[in-house]
């Protein structure tokens, strides 16, 4: 595959989102990513989500999103040949990535520092829930737990009501983003030291990274930021989501010039707002000095004014005001059809077996010298590349047959137990 990292081989031993999203980054960048899956496969192959009437046999959304362009080896790492295979594979790899718990890796002989000792050139990348040290270093984690513990969930939702986590797996994705960055950093370091190293990130750490400004404000002032519904807890300004007469939500960020602020309130036929000194400069309007009463007042004025306009009326006005920062709150269909996403290949089309054409998220990064592939690669069927990669590494046909027979048997046993049919 083409791309800036097409010279790299990455071995992924990972499940769900956080680990596979790291592998996806390298796959998008052109690296060869070999996903080593247990006999039952990555669990995300079975995650059907909501409102899904498509067949169980297709690539399910979570697996599809995270595993495009990878190869799959299905092998039982609890067997001797499974461990032998991985040792040979890692000897030819540049990066190993995993989001398995450290204790689970150790049970199959993959203690991280031990890996680093056996494969000095290898970048050993690991992402977990709560960091590599401390009492919860090996505690189980799924996305929402890290959102809660990292403080972000406390800042979203209405004041006085239940915290409302963002409706996306941001903890997993952020932890993955940090590990991808850490692995690339370690690769650059390898150019200097000639050595690989163990790099570790976590969902918890990534949550702190995602809202460093807000955390710093609470730490610095000693005053805890509190959730404020459709507004930002640390921006004392009109900034926030407002709803039009015809029930369309849009985010009003700010008017960057006084002319734009003037035009806004003339448009609403409330020019008297322009007499309020608290909002008469661009800095004040982005929250440099707003008072509690003043903020409540201007938000109420804007909310009431917006409620008298249809979205079409507002959009026509905003389109003439380039110095006002605003955006409609889009649903996923709005994202799919957004001309900006299409123009930048942020949303691209792919052909999926059984389903046909569907949309998916593209590479999202652009390189002038080493462009990435434009064509979207399918994710692998479970074990699709077991035989070819084993052969490539010098294993013979009888060993391949043993591995494939073994994983089929183990898979049937596990599925029977899970489905209660044994």
């Amino acid at each position: 595959m083409a791309g800036p990292l097409s010279n790299l081989t990455v071995v992924e031993l990972a499940t769900a989102i956080q680990g596979p999203a790291v592998g996806l980054y390298f796959s998008n960048m052109g690296a060869r990513v070999i996903k080593v899956e247990p006999p039952i496969g990555d669990g995300s192959r079975y995650h059907r989500g909501v409102k899904n009437e498509l067949p169980e046999t297709i690539f399910q959304s979570q697996f599809l999103a995270m595993n495009k362009g990878k190869e799959s080896v299905c092998i039982d790492l609890k067997t001797e040949i499974g461990r032998d295979f991985l040792e040979v594979l890692l000897g030819k790899a540049d990066i190993f990535i995993s989001n398995y718990r450290a204790s689970a890796l150790e049970r199959i002989g993959l203690e991280l520092t031990g890996l680093n000792a056996r494969f000095p050139q290898l970048i050993v990348g690991h992402v977990n829930g709560f960091g590599p040290r401390g009492p919860d270093a090996d505690k189980a984690m799924l996305d929402g737990a890290a959102q809660a513990r990292g403080g972000i969930a406390n800042l979203t939702g209405k004041p006085g009501e239940t915290s409302t986590p963002p409706g996306a797996a941001i903890a997993d994705h952020a932890g993955a983003m940090q590990l991808a960055l850490a692995c690339v950093t370690a690769l650059e370091s390898r150019h200097t030291t000639g050595q690989g190293q163990v790099v570790r990130t976590s969902s918890l750490g990534a949550q702190l990274w995602l809202h460093m400004w807000e955390l710093q404000h609470s730490f610095l002032t000693g005053n805890q930021l509190e959730r404020v519904g459709p507004h930002h807890p640390n921006i004392n300004a009109p900034y926030g989501v407002y709803t039009t007469k015809d029930a369309v939500d849009f985010m009003f960020v700010t008017a960057m010039t006084n002319d734009a602020w003037t035009n806004l309130w003339i448009f609403f036929d409330q020019p008297d707002v322009l007499l309020i000194e608290e909002w008469d400069t661009p800095g004040k309007r982005i929250g440099s000095s707003g008072s509690e009463d003043g903020v409540a007042d201007i938000r109420t004025r804007l909310k009431n004014a917006v409620a008298l306009k249809t979205f079409e009326e507002l959009e026509a006005f905003f389109d003439e005001q380039p110095e006002i920062i605003w955006e409609r709150v889009r649903d996923h269909e709005g994202v799919r059809t957004d001309p900006q996403n299409i123009a930048n290949s942020y949303v691209v089309e792919m052909d999926l077996p059984t389903v046909g054409k569907t949309a998916t998220v593209g590479t999202l990064m652009e390189y002038s010298l080493t462009p990435t592939d434009e064509a979207v690669q399918l994710p692998p069927e479970l074990g699709a590349d077991t035989a070819s990669i084993m052969a490539e590494l010098g294993f013979d046909d009888s060993q391949v047959e043993f591995v494939e027979t073994n994983v089929t048997n183990v898979r049937q046993r596990l599925l029977s137990a899970l489905l209660g049919t044994d």
Binding site: N258, N263, I266, D269, P271, D272, L274
Partner: protein
């Protein structure tokens, strides 16, 4: 003649112009648009814009007098031009932001 206090909205009696007072002097001011007095009432009553006061007003622009104690905001544009006590008002220059480089 009227005291022009902040927030007061006035209409031209000969064109579509409407203004809001941003700031005004302490005393009475004879404010005209298109050569005719501005009013708080119905606005354009069908009269003609005086050709000597036909420069027009621009939506969203601010107009000031020479002393700097009167400032008006045009909230609806029209064909007449604004004057206070017989002297034409000037378009207020937008303040330039300081350079940061």
């Amino acid at each position: 003649m009227a005291v022009l206090s902040a927030g007061l909205r006035l209409k031209s009696s000969v064109c579509a112009t409407e203004i809001m007072v941003i700031s005004g002097p302490d005393g009475d001011v004879d404010l005209t648009c298109g050569g005719a007095p501005m009013t708080e009432g119905e606005g354009n009553s069908g009269g003609a814009v005086d050709s000597d006061h036909a420069g027009g007003t621009a939506l969203g622009k601010r107009y000031v007098n020479g002393d700097g104690d009167l400032e008006l905001l045009c909230v609806k544009a029209g064909d007449g031009s604004l004057a206070a006590d017989g002297t034409a008002l000037n378009l207020k220059d937008a303040k330039k932001l300081p350079k940061t480089d």
